[in-house]
Symmetry: C2
DNA sequence: CGCGGCTTTGATGTTCATCAAGTAAAGTGG
DNA sequence: CCACTTTACTTGATGAACATCAAAGCCGCG
């Protein structure tokens, strides 16, 4: 293996690079493009052509789409190793959603045609991708179904637990979303996100300092997320 | 190609069988199991192990899951050529949803381990599956997002148009779902499904004879589905 | 028949969005 | 660094959308 290829150090290695050999590895390694994004910057814009296979190396991003009236709906929050361009990549010509950076982020892009032709010749890689993709979309679908049946309190609780456990691994963290974005994610209004947070604060479940959230009673929060 | 293999006649041929050769074809053809189901019968039960790759040859089925209180939520309606066991197959050990027949149906099942090992050696098939899977799950995700932002009238209109255009290709058809199931699909109550249907009838958009629906004004219905 | 499931309609109450108004925080230009 | 503007956040009041509860008609089936 080419020791000069910095993919050696990438966390995606085990999923991707380890399955490649010789020419394929060269194609991927030499064709890759790393990009830095500052918080708030647009990574992918709805309607543009899909030419690359992009994934997130570090940071945090949101996937969202705009409806006919211009209102935004957040589809998903993705952290490193959740592919960014997994949705649509193999089914569509154009992105039907946008991606922006919630925190400073680094992406790595590979030429999609290259990837496709490599998959064509490498079944193991393909099976890996199928499995990875299946996991990601399954979670997305189940989450979306979950959100639909929950009341507002349950939705907000759900979101806070997600950040606490899956993203920051801490009971105290800075919310990477505005109140408005939280609303766009779980399908409610900004006002009611705020009201629900205030209720949680009054009930002693949360301590809130602007964007900083401290979960004081995780058990209550979890039971609200489940049954609320 | 073995002329005795009835897969020759299957509609799935172009997606699947055409990509296979020699031994692989034999494995798939000889290992396949066709099953008949009567309306209402259970095809797949939530929680059982995934051992087969199952798809629908004819009929109509519903995918649904049961929440902790026993209430059912319909995830999707699938017609022939929409894979039945696409969700979860490559990511999970067990089904996290059930499938039952809405109309008399015929399925064909292949051994999942066989399929996986074939994919492992056949990148073209894998790429096809990736693409097919991507289309199916993308649609599921976008539909779920759509439903979340629509009002009740919009959701019911949406469902009626789906049956009229995608399933029965006719302005008049028999609803394969009970009112209760319609409610479970679009996330509302049975009473409000009925009320909404009655409103559409009073507005001259529908004619309703029990389970038989005649769409009298498709344009109105479409505009309700889009903006309601 | 009569029982049980599906359907329908009406009355009532709750949840949530909308509207309005005000405070705090964060940029922006002089 | 301070006035100024803009954007985010917060709270209360009101009304609309929707769920829940209750009751009755319909229809197939034993």
């Amino acid at each position: 293996m080419d020791p000069s290829c910095s993919c050696e150090l990438c966390e995606l290695k085990e999923l991707f690079v380890d399955k490649l050999t010789g020419d394929h590895l060269d194609i991927v390694c030499s064709g890759k493009v790393e990009k830095d994004f500052r918080q708030g910057e647009i990574i992918i814009k709805e309607g543009t052509n899909i030419r690359e296979f992009t994934y997130l190396k570090s940071g945090l991003v949101k996937l969202f789409r705009s409806d006919n009236t211009g209102k935004e709906q957040i589809i998903s929050i993705a952290k490193p190793m959740d592919y960014v361009s997994l949705l649509s990549v193999f089914s569509d010509k154009q992105y039907n959603y946008s991606v922006t950076a919630l925190e400073d982020s680094v992406t790595c892009s590979l030429n999609l045609e290259d990837i496709k032709s490599i998959i064509n010749e490498n079944g193991t890689l393909a099976l890996n991708l199928l499995s990875k993709m299946s996991r990601v979309t399954d979670k997305l679908i189940l989450d979306s179904l979950d959100i639909r049946v929950k009341h507002l309190r349950g939705r907000v609780a759900y979101l806070l637990i997600y950040f606490s456990e899956d993203v920051y691994s801490s009971l105290e963290f800075d919310l990477p979303l505005t109140r408005k974005e939280m609303a766009e994610y779980v399908g409610m209004t900004t006002e009611n996100v705020i009201r629900t947070l205030s209720e949680f604060r009054k009930d002693g479940i949360l301590k809130i300092y602007g964007k900083t959230i401290h979960i004081a009673n995780m058990e209550s929060l979890q039971s609200i997320a489940e049954f609320g």
